[in-house]
Amino acid sequence: MSKRMPISRRTMLRGVSAALALPWLEAMSPRSARAGSSATKPPLRVAFVYHPLGADATAWKGVQGSGKEMRLTPTLRALEPVKEELIVVDGLDGRRHPASGHNRSACLWLSSAPPGKADAWGVETDVTLDQLLAAKLSAGAPLKSLEMSCTTHGELMHAMFLSWRGPGVPTGAETRPRDVFARMFGDAKRDAYQKSILDAVAEDARAFKANLGQADQRRLDEYLESVRSLERQIAAFEQGTRKRPAPKTAPPEGPPPSLPQHVKLMADLLVLALQTDFTRVLTCALGDESESAKGTTYHRTLNDFGIDKKSFTGKVEGKYLDWGHHQCSHDPKPTQPLIQAVDRWYVDQLAYILQQLRSVREGDGTLLDHCIVVYGCTNGTPLDPKGGIGWPGHALKDVACLLAGKGGGLLKRTGRQVQYRQGTPLCNLWLTLAQMVGIERKSFGTSTGPLSDLG
């Protein structure tokens, strides 16, 4: 049987170093979406990109002008080439939680849990925006939604996962580029017998469920969902129109050697997943919020980011140069140049993604024209009354947030900054997005109403 696998196990395991780029982008678009054939309108795709541990809010303020005249702040500088695709959203407050802290914050970003509805761990979680959108948008795509996270450790679910299926149930996330790759091009779907194996285990699952009686059936439902997800992918592959060529390059292998390479690979895979219409809703966390030591997002240092320490000579005291991102963010006055450099680094990754999306021709425009990319975070460094950097560390006021892409015409007026009244919940933005794609909902989580002036 192994002989038939287009990507043999050997290729899977012995692929060359993870540092490779993914050069097959152009050839891989589904035929319907490639430039020139505008028979059907390309589908809307939505991606959520998460900036971990909060951004310095001051560095996002002061975007002026619009269109070609738009003036970005230094932190957003890398977005200059794509600035006409942006809507910088200012003044929104992240969702609060009575016992917040980092360990419990990633789950709050796209949250829809009404207050007082705590899961088994006392954290208010419920189905998140991406999952709502996926239910609406994903018909026809092989995968309902794809979740990625550029982390290596993650032992606390509320710090790790952006996407939730319901109270206490995270959707999970791929942390290894190879796994994302395997899901798109993996051998399981290409094996003629997989469908029969799935049929057999689905029958097992139904019998198991009947046997459980009245006891808890949640995990069985999740299991069946997992069976259906794979069936759906197989079905999509069997449909001629969706058959995509297997990439000629070996898939990325092993844990990526460095943070920049890890993120770059994930970014490439993100673009690839949207470009091939593998999925239409995607979350990608550039890091997580777990309060732990070494090797985690919490302790990413300048070295890890690949930022030159020398550039801070005379600006920042030497001892801070080896501090982790999180520690710096709690001592923001002396380390502000460092925090801003880290924020810039994360924005650079976004800029790369946006430029890649724009470089793909699709229908009568670019891939980015048919996407909405949401970028943001849950924590921030709030402003003090004088407008300087705030104290103490992270609050959920005024979190950094921007949208990019035209969303297939849903966001017509890009290339500007929108200012909302202080205290407007971030959930209002999520409600607005849900309504935009045609989900009939009057509220979302702690929202107070839809945002004006966005579309």
Binding site: G168, G172, V201, D204, F208, Q214, D216, R219, Y223, A293
Partner: protein, 699 residues
């Protein structure tokens, strides 16, 4: 003010009438229910007739110490003790359980409020406990929710190994009968073969395929962590494919027996395909495979054969299906549905066998266990105890209870992520101390397991394991070993420490380094670790928006402040102090250990101050004082250890209705001098371990 507080006790509010009415009605319904099922439970009825007493008695005490905050007007945390009445529904017990927990842990009443006397405290706790004990399911004690859950990554890995090895009972490592584990060799060093060098797992590839499990609640067995992402089946399929590749390619000699052999026999026609598949599915499902199931898998084989595939290709199909089937990957399906209508019933023998082997081995039951279960003997108390003792002596405990429970209980994974400063502590890296410190801790834990020692030795022991680089690091005189030639494998010696500054996990480099910042110690992290792991009373998370990173502030004389002085400052803030008064002293007592676990008398040119006291308790000084304190709180430690092991074994957070089981295990452990095996046996024999709810109680 005082008048208002006193009122509810002496002058019941008018709502009581309604409450009484409800209660009468409810009792009537209960009686009807009981009659309907013809399971009249007389002792239960007797207990109910006295139900008002305990609460009436403690109202006075509650009014005196609690109701000023938790009263009618502004009930803090939404808890109004004035109106909190007799529990009638399952949900009514929860606030009472909270009251019990807060009082028992000493969190309530707050330190700056009048404190109850010890007698009053005991009295209230006793009364609340007797109220809580009244929670039953149709007159039976509540064994807690029963959820099928998927295996965690460790369990799936071990299970795959044991499924293909079949008999699997032999230790894959060479074992010298004249030289048992931890025996002293002629040169004085000890035989560490059980854990060192770390054994390679046959199914390591699983770690590369399955996503890492989260560990909320402390253990990877806790079912709420084990949701099934939609990509999981795809990954299970990949695992099964890799496993079968390895087996067919005879990647290890160990594969020669077991599954490989069975496939050979089937190929040669020595047994039929259905017989083979029935046996394998029975093993994988931990219960006899049904005829329909076997037919389903045989069909898969036939399908491939009809399409012209060879035997080896065709037989992989049903094997893959079995290895990813919910019957294999979900624990809890061994128990077949029962027609009985009771709300609670004992686990079937097969389900018990499964629960036992995942508790001790994090893997599938072996033949002996399976056979005893099939014969219906496993429920016999002596048999159960014998089996637990047998399983504790099996090497599989290393990948089960040692890695799964002991290492997670000590939070080894978190400690592993210490990052001492490279410039200040270069020797830490040059001598590979991070790895050696892990080995020190794991060896110590494993000996307590192997020699069945008193669990109190985790806190206070006069012995331990050292190798040359660690002995140098700890500055231990009279170390028996010599400096090993470079590149030689490190040898370990069992040593007796000259004084109590070393001995027990608190004084081990791994714990001390893992709870420090790169350049300085962190009494908060150390205190938190002691509270979580040793005392089992984790502090609540800090409130939002607080700055929880210590600044390296300058003191008044322009001198750097020592860490305890910094702590003192941060404790000046009342919002912080309410919790940190319980955290910091425990960590400050360890200040004589520097950020990499070396002993020190001075810090920042000032003598180390390691004195502290807990609210209402005696002052204690340094690590010896801390050990004395913990030993004097033996009961708290043992109870916490029991609670954590029960959590691990049940795979869920403990609830108030588990208190009687905890108490029973606790008493048996104390009686048997704290032996580790006693905790394991008693957990396995406990009520919640051996029973299940048959349905969820209506809220």
């Amino acid at each position: 003010m005082i008048d208002r507080i006193a009122r509810p006790a002496s002058n019941p509010p008018p709502s009581i009438g309604n409450e009484l009415m409800n209660r009468v009605l409810l009792r009537y319904l209960e009686v009807l229910t009981v009659l309907a099922f013809l399971t009249a439970n007389l002792p239960g009825q007797e207990a109910r007739s006295k139900e008002e007493e305990p609460l009436r008695d403690i109202r006075v005490v509650l009014a005196k110490y609690c109701v000023s905050c938790h009263g009618e007007t502004t009930p803090k945390a939404g808890l109004n003790l004035g109106s909190l009445g007799e529990p009638t529904h399952a949900a009514d017990f929860i606030p009472w359980a909270k009251v019990r927990q807060r009082i028992r842990s000493g969190q309530m009443p707050p330190a700056d409020r009048p404190q109850p006397t010890a007698r009053e405290r005991e009295h209230v706790l006793g009364a609340v406990e007797s109220v809580l004990a009244r929670h039953t399911l149709d007159g039976q004690p509540d064994p807690g929710p029963w959820h099928a859950r998927r295996m965690n990554v460790r369990e799936y890995m071990n299970t795959l190994r044991d499924l293909v090895l079949y008999k699997g009972a032999a230790d894959p490592r060479k074992r010298d009968p004249r030289n048992p584990p931890f025996a002293t060799k002629p040169d004085g060093s000890v035989n560490t073969y059980r854990v060192l060098p770390p054994p390679e797992h046959l199914c390591n590839f699983v770690l590369q395929v399955l996503p890492q499990d989260t560990r909320d609640g402390g253990f990877d067995t806790v079912g709420d962590n084990l949701s099934i992402p939609s990509s999981l089946l795809e990954k299970y399929l990949r695992c099964s494919r890799l496993l079968l590749d390895d087996v067919f390619a005879l990647k290890s000699n160990a594969y020669r027996e077991g599954l490989f052999n069975q496939i050979e026999r089937t190929r040669k026609g020595q047994q039929t395909v259905p017989v083979f598949l029935r046996a394998f599915a029975t093993k994988a499902f931990r219960r006899p495979a049904t005829a329909e199931e076997v037919a389903r898998y045989v069909k898969l084989f036939d399908l491939a054969r009809e399409k012209g595939d060879d035997f080896d290709t065709a037989i992989r199909l049903p094997l893959q299906a079995i290895l990813v089937s919910p019957n294999c990957v979900l624990l809890g399906g061994e128990d077949r549905a029962s027609k009985a209508t009771a709300s609670v019933r004992p686990l079937s023998d097969l389900a018990l066998a499964s629960r036992l082997s995942y508790f001790l081995w994090s893997s599938t039951p072996d033949e002996q266990l399976f056979r005893l279960a099939e014969q219906g003997k496993l429920q016999v108390p002596q048999v159960l105890e014998q089996q637990v003792q047998r399983m504790l002596n099996d090497y599989r405990v290393r990948d089960g209870l040692l890695k799964g429970f002991l290492c997670q209980w000590l939070q080894l994974d978190r400690l592993e992520r210490a990052s001492p400063d490279v410039d200040r502590f270069p020797f830490y890296f040059q001598n590979n101390l991070a790895e050696l410190m892990t080995q020190e801790l794991v060896l110590f834990a494993d000996v307590i397991l192997v020699e069945d020692r008193n669990i109190l030795e985790f806190v206070d022991a006069d012995w331990g394991f050292l190798c040359y680089p660690l002995a140098q690091h700890y500055d231990i005189d009279k170390f028996p070993g010599r400096k090993p030639p470079s590149n030689a494998q490190v040898t370990w010696y069992r040593v007796k420490y000259p004084d109590r500054r070393r001995g027990g996990v608190l004084t081990m480099g791994k714990v001390l380094t893992g709870t420090s910042s790169p350049l300085r110690t962190s009494p908060v992290q150390r205190g938190k670790w002691v509270l979580e792991s040793i005392l089992g009373t984790p502090p609540p998370p800090p409130p939002p928006d607080v700055d929880n990173v210590l600044k390296e502030e300058k003191g008044e004389g322009k001198k750097l402040l020592t860490v305890p002085q910094l702590m003192e400052r941060h404790r000046a803030n009342p919002a912080c102090y309410s919790c940190h008064r319980a955290i910091d002293p425990l960590g400050i007592a360890l200040e004589n250990f520097d950020p990499v676990g070396r002993w020190r008398e001075r810090d920042q040119d000032q003598p180390v101050v390691a004195r502290g006291s807990l609210a209402g308790g005696k002052e204690f000084d340094g690590v010896v004082g801390l050990k004395d304190l913990l030993v004097s709180r033996r009961d708290d430690f043992v109870r916490s250890f029991v609670e954590q092991m029960l959590t691990y074994a049940l795979g869920r957070k403990l609830e108030f209705y588990d208190a009687p089981a905890v108490k029973q295990i606790f008493q048996a452990v104390i009686k048997d001098e704290g032996k580790l095996s006693r905790v394991v046996v008693e957990v396995a024999r406990s009520y919640p371990f051996r029973h299940r709810r048959t349905k969820e109680p209506t809220p």
